[in-house]
Amino acid sequence: MLRQILKLAYYEILHILKDPILCLMVFIAPLAYASLFGAVYVASVLNDIPLAIVNQDNSELSRDVVAAYRNDPHFKIIAEIESYEELEAGMKTGKVRAGVVIPADFSQKLSQNGQTEILTVYDASNLIWGYNIRKNTLEVVNKFSADHTAAQLAGAGLSKHEIQNVMNTIDCNITVWYNPTFSYVNFLFMGLIIMILHQLGILGVALTITREKERNTWLQYLTAAIPAWKITLGKCLPYLVVNFCNYVLLIWLSSQFVHVKIQGSVFLIILLGLLFDLIITFAGFLISVYTPNSLMVTRYIMLLSVPFFMVSGYTWPHTHIPELLNGMARLLPSTWMMEGFRLVTIKNLTMTEVGPIFLIMGLMAFLFTGLSLTFRKQSLPPNTDDLAVNCGSTYPRE
């Protein structure tokens, strides 16, 4: 009877509304976290990297080098730093994150065919700085070298056309697919969003049965003739709906305000969301059925957030993660969801290409749904964990 299920859902919603922190977690926190992270990453690209120039040469050539850096939008030259000692101090205190050192006799040595070089240093204590500065520096250097050569050739009397010819003899055209602007937001943001939805989604529903157990009302469900699957559907329905709404809301927010690239088939995005929704809601429900109290649930779920994110291969790639750990990560729904979402929305892949991911998520959804609908209605043995005493909502203070 649909009536019974809807009534269960109605009372579950009533309960959510009566618990301020649960309300916070279910309705507000996803949006709040997404907005917060959105604000953090909204710049999306590391620009204006503080750069110090230690130009000990002061020749025209060295000034050309400086100009090359100055004209690059990625860098911002910090004028106060002029000596090598100041550079060292500045790097230590984070005042600058990169430096260019042109030795005193640079242009002189160069014209004499002697050994000399321009030194670029960058802060690798934070590899976000490190990786990006290195790439940007090489771009500047390459461009500078090319311009310098072109100037030399012009000086040697070649025409513009001829110079072009020479320079582009082998034209290495570096194209960046899917994320040409090297935007961190396109890389990282939706992974964070998925993790937020995953954790808050599970946490909300994971308290639904433990709450009843702690308040001694679970036995009302156990002693009534109502079958397990109706209890499951009734209690999970509000969470299924809210979790999916949050999914849609957060995608919209990310796309509108954080300007994350979200392309790809709408159908696939929705299907991903539905499968993910089923998986986390029913996984949370199972946790609630088989865990004796809410405190344990809250703790363990929270502690798993960062590890789940890191092992997924979403940032540090899975080709560089030990195979066994990769295998374990592949047991987690979050790993598949994050990868699937990236493949659909960033790489714009079709069903044939991401089929395996949908298959696996489909299997997980089937598994969790099945286990949830057929849970054994039985009361757990009495809880001897002393923490359980603290968990009732009516436990008074002091």
Binding site: K7, K18, T217, Q220, L222, A224, A225, P227, Q378, S393
Partner: protein, 240 residues
Amino acid sequence: MGVQEISPILEAIDLHKVFGKKKVLDGVRLNVYPGECLGIFGLRATGKTTLLHMLVGLDRPSAGLVKIMGSDIRKGDRYKALVGLVTQDKSLFQDLTVAENLDFIASLKGAPQGNITSLIAKFYLQDYLQMAVNSVDAGVFQRLALACALLNAPQLLILDEPVKDIDLYSQHLIMRIIQEFLSQGGACIYGFSNMESSQNMHKVGWLDNGRITVYEPAEALQIWDSLLHSYNNIDGEKDE
């Protein structure tokens, strides 16, 4: 009553329950027939609640079985529609109102709405419907608990200390409704720890050391009185 041809509503056969090293139930046998009220007398921590929960399928025995209407309760859940339970520790929804509790539990049990209205009238709960359950006094709470147990029109009631320490009006009302239930052919298993109330019952099962001995109520009261007497005597002698 023609008891010989009628089969028992509930039969407990050789129930054992062990918690860790402690033997809580050690071969309990009992049965209860329609129209009968079997009292389970047990002092604190004798395993009374464990036994009662076992009879309704909440707890599993280490050995032995329970049959309700002839079928083993381990097989299937259909017997649950025939049973109503009032627990010793509060098990109603504290954050809901009286009316909401009735509504929700009726829905859980698949009971028709009509039952709710008649039970509200029977238990005189009209004035308390909008009150939160955690704010009503003990007597009203127990009335509500019994009303919820009766929502699915059960044939067997399992009551664990239903009237302990509540006001006399509610006590009287509850006992009257139980009598009415019994007269309509229902059976009742009634856990209690105050021997005086045994007079309302048809049989008393005295739970001690994990075993049940069944007495007639008058007999049980006699035994209890003599026990009291003997303890008083010992004290008396000491005083002298």
